[in-house]
Assembly symmetry: C2
Homo-oligomer: 307 residues x 2
């Protein structure tokens, strides 16, 4: 095991991402010490019992004292309040980063509260599951997943150090501008999530099809939507509110496209449907070729039941 | 190995479903002999080489001669033409079934062409992958998946026999009315597929985000949509055209719901979003409790890379 990359890492917020970081730091010896803070006493206690923090504190201010890396891992809407609280307690030369799914809004909320003697490098690991809370983390969550850093004008040495830290947890690190990040994520993550939530909501409201039938026959396509739509409600509320413009932009495009297909169905225009579906199939092939998924068939299947 | 349930099974269409049925019949000894027909000589040859058919024929009429079970496994839009062709060649007492994703349209297209001396029991196995063609089948595709039968006025003994046949391939058989089937599937399968196609199409058209970025960062949610949107274009074109009313009905509801959430984002109404996302999360729990999926976290993960 090599030298730790940071002497003391403070995790603010102890949910899926922070707990996974804690496990990963332990497994690959990336931090000398891990401190943590969560609002809930039960969550703090869980972090100690599970063992991904060495010490936990009732306040974020106490948790960051003496840390050379501070990770803000709370919902995007809570970042500003946390930054305001910890600002006066940050050690000179410390790096502050975050794991929020939106970058422009986080920068606007956090940066004004940070003293000049710390370095702010916003970040976003593209990793997660539909579970949340301190019990849901695992050390390999970030393995072969992208972690996007938005270094802005941060010193190169500090950026390189944070990059080594994420690479130590298995991530593939890329740098990006905040505005571009928010647009890319609106397409690849935020809008798909909103649509999945909507589809599940439609099924929920439908009176003629009972809920038990929706659940019973979910493997025919709907099930994959419910997995996405089971993600943490607080986190996603904040994502949509804070990446409002890009999400509304992509939603508008989505509705236009949907109406084109809806019209083709109504008019019996099979050619438009066939051509559209042929194009989308090609995108899927691109993803498999890029190594971001396997070609193994599993749609509609329960993995444990395959032979 | 027990007695075969049918002496000769004719598979009309030799794609994912038919080839999987062929493999399953072989493995569990459900058919004395398996004949097959596909329009393409290459597909027919593949069926013989892979070995899930004993004999293949250039015409569907030849393939069904002497069969006591005929399985129509072609796209929904081709069912009527096939039924017209095979009608005069069906053996007295034979059971004809199909595997189409829509039931009312298939019944309307097929039933008028069948002679009185055969028994028509429409069916729909809720199983599939995003792959298609004779090479994509495997024997366990139907294991623990539902197969819906629409027996109408068919004799009970013939229905019971077809039920045993599907149970022999591992399926859980349920009976349903055709109209209700089409509505349930519009909610749980057809509309989700159309939405997934649409979302992938939006990403494809987007100029500001390059395709390589969409693919590169697809694991953040979008990837699950592309898997669904890679399904067979011909099959899905026919599904939407033949289950038009139910699909348009559910699409209308979907758009209403989407506008509610879109408005909440625009107005900054976090409470509406939070409450909505909390409800959809509960549906997910229902699916896990019903045994239709596992709680294992895998969203956004490449399985082969997990430890």
């Amino acid at each position: 095991m090599s030298e730790p990359i940071y002497n003391r890492v403070a995790l603010i917020g102890l949910g899926l991402i922070a707990s996974s970081m804690g496990h990963a730091m332990r497994r690959w010896g990336l931090a000398g010490e891990i401190t943590g803070h969560a609002r809930s006493a039960e969550t703090r206690q869980a972090a100690l019992e599970i063992g991904f923090c060495d010490r936990v504190f009732e306040t974020a201010a106490e948790a960051v004292a003496g840390a050379d890396l501070v990770v803000l891992a709370v919902p995007v809407g809570a970042m500003g309040r946390i930054a305001e609280e910890i600002g006066p307690h940050l050690a000179p030369g410390a790096t502050v980063t975050d794991v929020g799914s939106v970058k422009q809004a986080v920068i606007e909320a956090v940066a004004p509260h940070l003293p000049d003697h710390v370095i702010f490098i916003p970040g976003h690991p593209l990793a997660g599951t539909e579970h949340s809370g301190p019990h849901s983390g695992f050390a390999t969550l970030f393995r072969n997943r992208f972690c996007l850093l938005v270094p802005g004008a941060a010193p190169a040495a500090a950026v390189a150090r944070l990059r080594r830290f994420w690479e130590g947890m298995g991530a593939v690190v890329e740098e990006m501008e905040a505005e571009h990040h928010d647009l890319v994520l609106a397409v690849t993550s935020h809008t798909p999530h909103l649509i999945a939530y909507t589809m599940v909501g439609v099924a929920d409201h439908l009176r003629r099809v009972t809920e038990s039938e929706v659940i019973k026959y979910s493997a025919a396509g709907f099930r994959d939507f419910t997995r996405i739509a089971a993600s943490d409600p607080t986190m996603w509320r904040d994502v949509f509110l804070s990446n409002r413009e890009a999400t509304l932009d992509i939603l508008g495009r989505f509705t236009e496209e949907l109406f084109v297909l809806q019209r083709a169905i109504r008019m019996g225009d099979g050619e438009t449907l066939f051509n559209y579906f042929t194009r989308t199939r090609a995108i899927r092939r691109g993803i498999i070729e890029a190594g971001q998924d396997t070609a193994a068939p599993d749609f509609g299947r329960v993995k444990a039941q395959e032979d």
